[in-house]
Amino acid sequence: MNEIAALNGVVEVEKIQYIKIRLNDEYFGIDIKYIDNIVRMQHITRVPKSMDYIKGVINLRGEVIPVFSLRVKMGMEEIEETRSSRIIIIKYDGDSVGLIVDEVKEVINLSVDEIEKVYRDSSENAQNFISGVGKEAGNLISLLDINEVLNDRTV
């Protein structure tokens, strides 16, 4: 074990940490450097006349933060929130945004050679939001491109 730990220590620099989340039965990874907080579902105030994926705004320790449904954003059907639903608070470029996910699994470490770059394919919508695919213990994890998720280019 110690040897492995030591080994991990050596290659740590090469590894990127992701939070592994679930939408439906798919797993996605979000680079941990963008994540400010993970909170339970709470009352969301609807914002009228906004895009369908904007679920509204919440109060996070005195700040008002918009919340997106990651499902709707990714082109999936919407579901009722469940006990495992969470809001991931992303801090990007000075602004905060919450993303609703079905479940938060764990933190994973991926080294560069475990990540396969995805080349943009405009035929499928969801593809646009993925920057790469990570291989973790035999599972495939789609890594989200936060910039693409937040900045809607279809508008």
């Binding site: 009228p48 006349k49 904007i54 008002v64 933060i65 918009p66």
Partner: protein, 692 residues
């Protein structure tokens, strides 16, 4: 002397003096004989010269010196004011402003000697007389001599009333001594208030200053001659206190003695002076009483010739922002307390509620005070416009006059700083495009001199600034034609376009109808920049125009940026806040009283027809009370237009903190922000202006 710490003061005061000079020289142009104006110009120029000299800005000093010489000759009736001279003086002021700008940037005045200006000034001087220039320095010196001879221990004139008598007696029983001290500041000192402040600071290290003559406020405002007196309570020996005072630079002298209350006042005279011969050795050792009777009463303070200027303690705006944030937090937490008290039915007691009410009034007052601290009159921004219009008048060769009202209207500091450019733009626009040439005006039977008005006033929670002219107005057809030519719109679109839409075209990027691109305006960057700037300040701009009669640009700005009084309402089960300032009245309207005009719902309220806005429809939500017999209608006002906003339920009035929703929340025009309610829920703030 290290003067860098005074740089800020220098810059501020120089700005004030320059602004003052600008205004006074404008006055002088109107009336070249007015002695008060000339004297004031002279004084301002003299102070400017002195300050520049102290700070080591030689070029600035030289230029002001030569200007001062001209003023001096004018004052002595050796030169008559003429328009060339006024032009030259304005050029000099511009040059001084350049120096100042450079100093502000790099603490260095730059290398421009402005020799042509200095030469021109000297030409003015030589043209008139060959008399040697009048030196005012010796005069001042003699005045100073006189002052010195009468200068004495003015502290003995301080009247100690019963309150202070008790304070002093009490202090004496505790071993403190009361000393009266008179401090003389050197005549050459230019930042008297700053020196006095240092003296006070020095004194406070030793004890407590209980009386000061003139008052601390007057001293801070620099409305005192070269001396002031204080009474201090201290344990230190007198000599030590006086030494501390003299340690402050540019202090000419300090004298003082003990004030003894019970017995016949006895004075221990101290203070001996090093450099001033004229000092009062004679009064040494005289009993205080004798001095008091023998001395003439302190001369009445000369009526200050300086206009009343807003004196301020300089505070970094960031500190105010953080103070404001803290107040916001406090109000949010107060709101949650209120809501806790409201929900804990049967368990709240009277005392608790009383305390909450008290807290409420404290937070409201606190908020108002912090707000007021941030408010400044728009004067500082609009002051420069008369001069600008004068220059434009020359440049464009059109006669025009600017009339301003409401300069004292206050706005948040940040808004005042930002509003200058848009206003300047609108004024230039009026001067250049608005006003017709003299011939056209004559044909139309208008007075030869064109009028431009700048009016500011408060309207509810908004401040309105209007720029108005009696010029040509906007030629809508011309605007449309120009838009078609530029390919902004098609001919068909133009034909269908109403007047309002056509005027809106003016606010499109790179749109200018000026046929000739002039130096003044018409470069195609213009109204769109004005508009975006005003919108960035959460304001609005509107245009009204009548061809041949003139146009009015109305800017509407929110008074407050952070915390407002709001009316909380329910629409379709959701809570919304509406700024109370936008609401005129709340009416209960019977459903059968709602009429339809051109397919739109209106109500007739006390003689005026007001369109109804069903908020639930605007906000895409089902009304809670679709079949109610009576509608709750908020009558909202924007300028001279009204609208009736239909809501489901009223909650009540509340002080809310406006929070930004960030750029990812979509940009719904109806929502101007969000706020956090007492229970932690977020409520959106409806922008009543956008609904009308």
């Amino acid at each position: 002397m290290d003067v860098s710490q005074y740089l800020d003061i220098f810059i501020d005061e120089t700005k004030e003096h320059l602004q003052n000079l600008n205004n006074r020289i404008l006055d002088l142009e109107q009336d070249g004989e007015d002695m008060d104006t000339i004297n004031e110009i002279f004084r301002a120029a003299h102070s400017l010269k002195g300050m520049a000299g102290t700070m080591g800005y030689k070029r600035m000093q030289t230029l002001t010196h030569d200007m001062e010489n001209v003023f001096s000759e004018v004052r002595n009736n050796n030169i008559k004011v003429n328009s060339d001279m006024i032009d030259l003086l304005f050029k000099c002021l511009d040059a001084l402003e350049e120096y100042l700008a450079s100093i502000q940037e790099s603490a260095d005045e730059g290398t421009n000697d402005n020799e042509h200006l200095i030469k021109a000034l000297n030409d003015v001087l030589n043209s008139k007389n060959d008399q040697p220039e009048v030196k005012e320095e010796p005069k001042e010196a003699s005045k100073e001599d006189k002052a010195n001879s009468t200068k004495a221990e003015k502290w003995k004139d301080i009247k100690i009333d019963d309150t202070f008598r008790t304070v002093i007696e009490e202090a004496q029983t505790r071993g403190f001594k009361a000393y009266g001290i008179t401090v003389y500041i050197m005549d050459s000192c230019l930042l008297k208030a700053a020196r006095a402040f240092l003296v006070f600071k020095a004194l406070e290290e030793h004890g407590e200053v209980i009386i000061s003559v003139p008052s601390a406020q007057d001293i801070e405002d620099e409305s005192f001659e070269n001396d002031f007196s204080v009474v201090i309570l201290t344990e230190s020996p007198l000599q030590k206190v006086i030494d501390a005072v003299k340690f402050v630079s540019e202090i000419e002298d300090a004298v003082g003695g003990e004030i003894v209350i019970e017995a016949k006042p006895q004075v221990t005279e101290v203070a001996k002076v090093d450099d001033v011969a004229a000092n009062n050795t004679s009064s040494d050792d005289k009993p205080a009483q004798a001095a008091q009777t023998s001395q003439p009463a302190k001369p009445e303070k000369k009526a200050s010739a300086k206009p009343v200027v807003n004196r301020t303690v300089r505070v970094d705006i960031e500190k105010l922002d953080s103070l404001m944030n803290l107040v916001s937090e406090l109000i949010i937490s107060k709101n949650s307390l209120v809501s806790v008290a409201g929900t804990a039915v049967g368990r709240t007691n009277m005392a608790f509620n009383e305390q909450i009410e008290y807290l409420e009034s404290v937070t409201t007052n606190l908020h108002e005070s912090v707000m007021k601290v941030r408010m400044v009159p728009i004067e500082s921004t609009v002051n420069k416009f008369p001069r600008m219009i004068r220059d434009l008048s020359k440049k464009l060769d059109k006669k025009m006059e600017l009339y301003m009202t409401g300069e004292e209207t206050e706005l948040d500091r940040t808004v005042v700083d930002e509003i200058g450019d848009p206003l300047m733009h609108l004024l230039r626009n009026s001067a250049d495009h608005g006003l017709e040439s003299a011939e056209v005006r004559a044909q139309r039977g208008k007075p030869e001199v064109g009028s431009i008005y700048l009016d500011a006033y408060q309207d509810g929670n908004n401040v309105v600034i209007e720029v108005r002219d009696d010029g040509n107005g906007i030629d809508v057809e011309n605007v449309k034609r120009s838009a078609v030519e530029k390919g902004k719109i098609t001919q068909e679109q133009a034909d269908l376009m109403g007047e309002k839409e056509a005027i809106d075209l003016l606010f499109q990027p790179s749109f200018s109808t000026a046929k000739v691109v002039s130096d003044v305006s018409g470069r195609g960057v213009g109204l769109d920049v004005v508009k975006s700037k005003i919108e960035a300040l959460s304001g609005e701009i509107e245009v009204k125009t009548k061809l041949g009669e003139g146009s009015t640009f109305t800017i509407r700005l929110p008074l407050t940026l952070a915390i407002i009084q709001a009316l909380m309402v329910v629409v379709g089960g959701e809570k919304y806040a509406i700024s109370l300032g936008a609401i005129q009245t709340i009416e209960s309207i019977k459903v059968e009283d709602v009429k339809k005009v051109q397919g739109k719902e209106v109500i007739n309220l006390r003689g005026s027809v007001i369109p109804l806005v069903r908020l639930n429809e605007m906000l895409d939500i089902e009304s809670l009370t679709p079949n109610a017999d009576e509608l709750i209608v908020l009558i909202a006002k924007k300028g001279d237009r009204f609208a009736g906003l239909v809501v489901d339920e009223l909650i009540g009035q509340m002080e809310i903190v406006i929070k930004s929703m960030g750029k990812y929340a979509g940009n719904c025009k109806l929502i101007s922000g969000a706020t956090i309610l007492g229970d932690g829920e977020v409520a959106l703030i409806l922008d009543a202006n956008a609904l009308i």
